[in-house]
């Protein structure tokens, strides 16, 4: 029982990372109806910024905050400079642009920081842990919850959050009441970038930092977002925790780590076939 509880709780900790990352994907999806395939690479690059600042002697949380600011600014810049010109392009062309960005950021990171695997510090002392969870896992869960709370408060209780929700819901009407829809879109990209960076920085002490570190997390975050229902941010969060737990339990009890990824994905696809709009999503009904 103890072993099971350990696997379950540690699944929740990784699930928190997927939840955070899934939330980043959903934020961009809600405003643009695109999945940003370069989200993981943006996050990875920001984690490298944090690592460099820490190595330069900055306190951990100062480096953390600076990396988030960097992630925010680069997110805004990517929207304004790269994505915006493709507003009217076909969906698949935009997907290719995202893939192009993925290759560019990945290659830049390899060039600047080398492809070698590096350790990444955790701010949480091992003493924080108990017999079920390590200190870092508990810290990850706390950071996840704090991030979710901050996002919730921002969208629920600030004027800017309200404006962003309005712009995503109905761009034309929002423009008529004076919301600068273009900038709220860029802001959304910035926030998604920062949220994604949190996920990468929390994941890095466990999976180590290297340019390809986010491939798995991107896939799981994508799966989490879809499992929960891509048009429902809280669904994405719930989906993240569910995916984390499924992954861990499948790895520990069903098939072993070798096929862990495949099994987790099969489970997710089966769930989706049963509920095509995701667990908490609503299917979009259009007028014919």
């Amino acid at each position: 029982m103890d072993a099971f509880l350990h696997q379950f709780l540690s699944g929740l900790a990784t699930g928190g990372i997927y939840a955070t990352f899934g939330l980043a994907l959903v934020m961009i999806f809600q405003a643009t109806h695109y999945i940003n395939f370069a989200q993981g690479e943006q996050a990875m690059f920001s984690a490298y910024i944090a690592l460099i600042l820490i190595q330069a002697g900055l306190p951990y949380w100062a480096a953390f905050a600076t990396a988030l600011v960097f992630a925010f600014v680069s997110g805004v810049a990517i929207e304004r400079l790269v994505v915006r010109p493709f507003n009217d392009a076909p969906v698949l062309s935009v997907v290719v642009v995202f893939l192009g960005m993925l290759f560019i950021i990945n290659s830049l990171a390899g060039w600047l920081f080398t492809y070698g695997v590096q350790a990444f510090p955790s701010p949480f002392p091992p003493g924080l842990g108990n017999r079920f969870l390590s200190g870092h896992e508990i810290g990850t869960i706390l950071v996840t919850l704090a991030t979710l709370a901050a996002v919730y408060l921002f969208f629920r209780h600030t004027r800017l959050g309200l404006a962003m929700r309005a712009a995503a819901e109905n761009p034309e009407a929002s423009r008529l009441v004076g919301i600068r829809v273009g900038w709220t879109l860029a802001l959304g990209w910035g926030l998604a970038g920062a949220i994604g960076a949190v996920a990468a920085i929390m994941a890095a002490p466990v999976i180590y930092i290297e340019p390809n570190m986010m491939a798995g997390i991107l896939l799981y975050g994508f799966a989490a977002a879809l499992l929960g229902g891509i048009n429902n941010p809280w669904g994405a969060v719930a989906g993240g925790f569910i995916v984390g737990v499924i992954e861990n339990l499948a790895g520990a009890y069903v098939i072993g780590t070798e096929l862990k990824l495949s099994v987790a994905l099969v489970i997710i696809v089966v769930v989706l076939v049963a509920r095509p709009a995701g667990l908490f999503g609503t299917s979009i009904v259009g007028r014919v």
Binding site: L92, L99, I104, S107, I230, V269
Partner: protein, 319 residues
Amino acid sequence: MSGGRTVGLAALLALAALVPFVVGSFHLLQATMVIVYAIALLGLNILTGYNGQISLGHGAFYAIGAYVTAVLLDRTGVPYWATIPIAGTVCLLAGFLFGLPALRLEGLYLALSTFALAVATPQLLKFRALESWTGGGQGLFVPTFQAPFGLPLAWDQWLYLIALAIAAVLFLLAWNLLRGSIGLAIVAIRDHPVAAASMGIDVARTKALTFGVSAMYTGIAGSLGALVAQFVAPDSFSFLLSLSFLVGSVIGGVASISGAVFGAIFIQFVPDLADQVSKALTGAVYGLLLIGMMALMPGGAVGFLQAVRRRWPRVRVDQ
């Protein structure tokens, strides 16, 4: 097809058949791979471009085709040429079976499911229980063969000609399929599923069959690809292969037949080109090229050519 175009295409085919007698063996190998990729991309175009089902996992069908050929040659006495249609049939079935549950999924959900297939493929190929068949992580060697009837051809020249002949037949079949009533049904489902259904089109069956046919094309390509590479291993079929199929398809022009050729040329040569431009920043050069291509021609190469033709209509009267 107007008479002029038929003659033009026949001339092009004849020209392509001369390639193995004028280029060296390295370039011949590259040319063969262009043909192989063109077949694979045509399969993806039928599904994604014409039927509107996004697949991020066609590398999986390519892998299945390649492994069917490799395992048959390794384990049985089936001659190499017979493995190609067997690989196609296996992929037709695999695609149809995968297409059935995928019917319920649309857009991004389908993209995720197919992407999951692409990610799972190398893991499944390495899976220990299948190792005695697939050779596990080591992969399998695919033997070379002689040209039949004592033809004075090296194996690579012969293989190129086989690939070219198969491609010609498959392109003709695709053209025929897509211009007929089935093709109209396939496109109608993409453009408006509800209207298509109310016109009496069996949406579910057509979509699943399209998935099967698409997988068959890509599987035949995989089978040929294994013969060209003389080797199959799980890591050659990572999800990057699926992504590069999607890239090739979009760069060529996703809802077109000829786009598959442009896309195949792109995915065969541009990564090497990027590598030559900068060894350290290969990925960045490739990414910039992708974004640049999409900025210049959002409809792919074929869309670009169509736009050019509309801008400067031909003076000559087709007759």
